[in-house]
Symmetry: C2
Subunit: 179 residues, 2 copies
């Protein structure tokens, strides 16, 4: 029952709408996530691309996603350094996935039956902030989940580390760098 | 018939495999694309993210895609400046879309039926380089399509501008900036 409740909280966060934009520059701003105290880092939307992916949870979430990293994270990836050094931050942006009628129309001539899907609105963002001392109890990572700039509940944040546990051999990071 | 042949060339390029990586720094390198003379710009993999999307052409292409832009392109997007100024470059990276068994396994507990798709290998990259004088005959854009670092044929490159024509009111750029 506990597990189901936690899953429902996570699903609610996945399905939520986030229309916020990140601060353009300066320090991390806004409300801190529960448990970890993580804030949304300034300027993260301009960070380098780690990977893109897609998640479908039938009837609950249909998303295109991108993981961006700060320079410390990208340097570690380039050098193949695991675990990530302190200061590394990875931000996963989750958008709704929607069909593009205009793209499909443009593609229909040369590619009959082509289906183009683009991002719709923000669902949420999820952050991982490396601080091996501060977050020693959760693999050295502090987690944050924000929808429309507001952090999710403590119950939601309790799911972050266990959910990432299967990626322990890659320092709890699911995303592989896209070639 | 001409149209079919052109489409087939485009499909072949879409379905091709590209395992190359971009040069880490320095000037554009490698072979120039036919017609436009466009080369792969150095360091483009570290450029800022414009958008992500997905393209499915049944039986031909199943891709996750990302569009990255150089600073000139991103500045124009941020300021809502259309047409793009000279020097703007947009690179679309096309990867095969593949299911992630490890992600699905990790997600199966909290999210039964979840399907995660990640990038596989490079299919190709496509570039748009703005030079309003040099490329006046093609909306001010020079186009390049590269698979495994090698440019596609002239016939393929003849399809670039007509294919982008439906996006004329957005200076021939299909991608919308992802929020």
């Amino acid at each position: 029952m506990q597990r189901i409740a936690v899953a429902l909280v996570a699903i609610a966060a996945l399905a939520g709408a986030d229309t916020s934009t990140s601060p353009a520059s300066g320090q991390a701003d806004g409300e801190a996530a529960p448990i970890y105290g993580v804030k949304i880092p300034a300027g993260y939307r301009d960070w380098k691309l780690i990977a893109v992916n897609q998640l479908l949870i039938p009837g609950m979430a249909d998303q295109l996603r991108a993981q961006l990293g700060n320079d410390i994270a990208l340097k570690a990836i380039e050098e193949g350094k695991i675990p990530f050094p302190d200061g590394a931050i990875i931000v996963a942006i989750h958008w709704t996935r929607v069909p593009s009628a205009s793209n499909n129309s443009a593609l229909a001539g040369p590619f009959p039956g082509a289906q183009s899907f683009v991002v719709g609105s923000r669902a949420n963002i999820q952050l991982m902030v490396k601080d091996s001392k501060k977050y020693a109890a959760s693999g050295g990572w502090g987690f944050g989940d924000f929808t429309d700039g507001k952090p999710a509940s403590a119950a939601m944040h309790e799911t972050c580390f266990p959910c990432h546990a299967p990626a322990k051999d890659r320092d709890y990071v699911f995303a592989h760098y896209a070639p």
